[in-house]
């Protein structure tokens, strides 16, 4: 994480005080000198980020409005330069937006993950990485559903978007990948571990 005038600013967001206090303590323990702003709701995160630039957001899952990956993506989309760390019961696989700390992590795991979070070299989306990812997070969600055999209508309902948006996503996916058939998209999704063989509905 790049330091802004020597000091970084971030949000620690969780409903309970104990949670926030714990996170702030650990950040201190691993030697990060950061200006920490506390938030207790998703709305608050939005208000804070509207006012000032944040380098990172550490957020507990319960603050993320449903569907979870949507607000993660929204958050990342609005603040492309902000790093996200989510604390929840389990990590979301292949989620390009965020690092995860899991509730069952022990002390060492939590310290390691937070250290990685703050000190790992910048791997944030350079143009190269975007090129590598090819599809946006939203497109990956749509691709998964297509590969699993859901109809446009079902996908629209599932992701809270209009059918037209689903169709646009599908068009973009096909254009980016050069793969037109559902069978082909399924192979692509499996190759990239977006879905597993057992996932498909019959």
């Amino acid at each position: 994480m790049k330091l802004n005038n020597g000091k970084i600013r971030g949000i620690v967001a969780a409903r309970q005080f104990l949670y926030r206090f714990g996170i702030k303590t650990i950040i201190g323990v691993i030697g990060v000198d950061a200006e920490l702003i506390e938030a207790t709701s998703y709305k608050e995160i939005q208000l804070i980020t509207q006012k000032e630039r944040c380098d990172f957001i550490i957020v507990s899952e319960e603050l993320l409005v449903m569907p979870k990956c949507c607000s993660l993506e929204a958050l990342q989309g609005d603040y492309p330069n902000t790093k996200l760390l989510v604390i929840r019961d389990k990590a979301v696989e292949n989620c390009p937006y965020s690092s995860f700390v899991v509730n069952t992590d022990n002390q060492k795991e939590i310290l390691d993950k937070l250290q990685d979070f703050f000190f790992e070299p910048e791997i944030k989306e350079t143009p190269d990485d975007i090129e590598k990812l090819l599809l946006s997070g939203r497109e990956i969600e749509v691709l998964k559903s297509v590969a699993l055999g859901f109809s446009n209508k079902e996908i629209a309902d599932k992701l809270f978007i209009s059918i037209n948006t689903v169709i646009t996503h599908r068009k973009n996916i096909t254009e980016k990948l050069g793969i037109k058939t559902i069978a082909g998209l399924t192979v692509y999704a499996m190759m990239n571990n977006y879905i597993k063989p057992g996932d498909a509905i019959q």
Binding site: G178, K180, T181, A183, G184, M190, N192
Partner: protein
């Protein structure tokens, strides 16, 4: 490959292949074997009891997609065209498909543990394609071709059974959706999966051969569809019209 020069009956058969090696499978589909020395197309065809003019039309239309003398091709008897198309079908199923499968299983043998899964996915994908192709070709052989031959017979005998007439009215050739689109798309997808997304494989040479075969199969199928759509279907429409007129008279 010189695409402007067309072949004629005096062209040496060996030159046909020298000018366009893609015609190798076409020649074998006609049942022509190598070893024709310096004989011309006409001579080789006569020896093999093949209609040389029909052979030339097919060879030329493969050689140059812009060359398509529909009228001439349409003047050949349907059974000639159908026999050629049937031969092409069995070439796909008996030669091309096993060849491609062989390359895929060759890649599997050399694959790393990690990449094996991906190659197996491609294998399943191609199997699905094969089933679809088989179904499509089978439909043509068992439904479309006999219908066309029946039409031709009826026109020649100027006599149309009520059953056939009913078919002309209810299931004209127009209704027969030539479902090539999905087949072509699947082949395109397979190519892109190989070119763009399959992690580097150990058997590079086999992978290259596979890709080249896929391109060849695609090209061959395109030519095949062109003959069906530009020659066979218009011809059947004419036959259907004729029979309707006869029955009205």
């Amino acid at each position: 490959m010189n695409k402007i020069l067309l072949f004629n009956e005096k062209t040496k058969m060996a030159d046909v292949i020298h000018k366009d090696y893609r015609l190798i499978p076409v020649i074998s589909r006609f049942g022509i074997n190598f070893g024709f020395g310096n004989k011309t197309v006409l001579e080789v065809c006569e020896e093999n009891k093949i209609n040389a003019w029909f052979f030339l039309e097919i060879a030329n239309s493969y050689h140059n997609p812009q060359y398509f003398p529909k009228k001439q091709l349409q003047s050949f008897a349907s059974d000639l065209i159908i026999q050629y198309l049937s031969n092409t079908h069995s070439y796909y199923l008996k030669v091309k498909v096993p060849e491609i499968e062989g390359y895929i299983s060759g890649m599997k043998k050399l694959a790393s543990v990690k990449n094996l899964k991906n190659i197996e996915l491609l294998e399943v994908f191609f199997k699905e394609y094969e089933v679809e192709l088989e179904k499509h070709l089978d439909y043509e052989e068992s439904r479309v071709f006999p219908y066309i031959l029946a039409l031709e017979k009826a026109v020649n005998e100027k006599e149309c059974s009520a059953e056939l007439l009913g078919k002309i009215e209810n299931e004209p050739i127009e209704k027969y959706e030539r479902n090539h689109d999905n087949l072509e798309e699947k082949l395109g997808d397979l190519k892109n999966l190989l070119i763009k997304f399959l992690p580097p494989v150990l058997g590079k040479e086999i992978c290259q051969k596979l890709l080249i075969e896929l391109f060849r199969l695609e090209e061959d199928l395109e030519n095949h569809s062109r003959i069906e759509e530009n020659v066979l279907v218009p011809r059947v429409k004419i036959l259907e019209q004729k029979l309707l007129q006869i029955s009205e008279a």
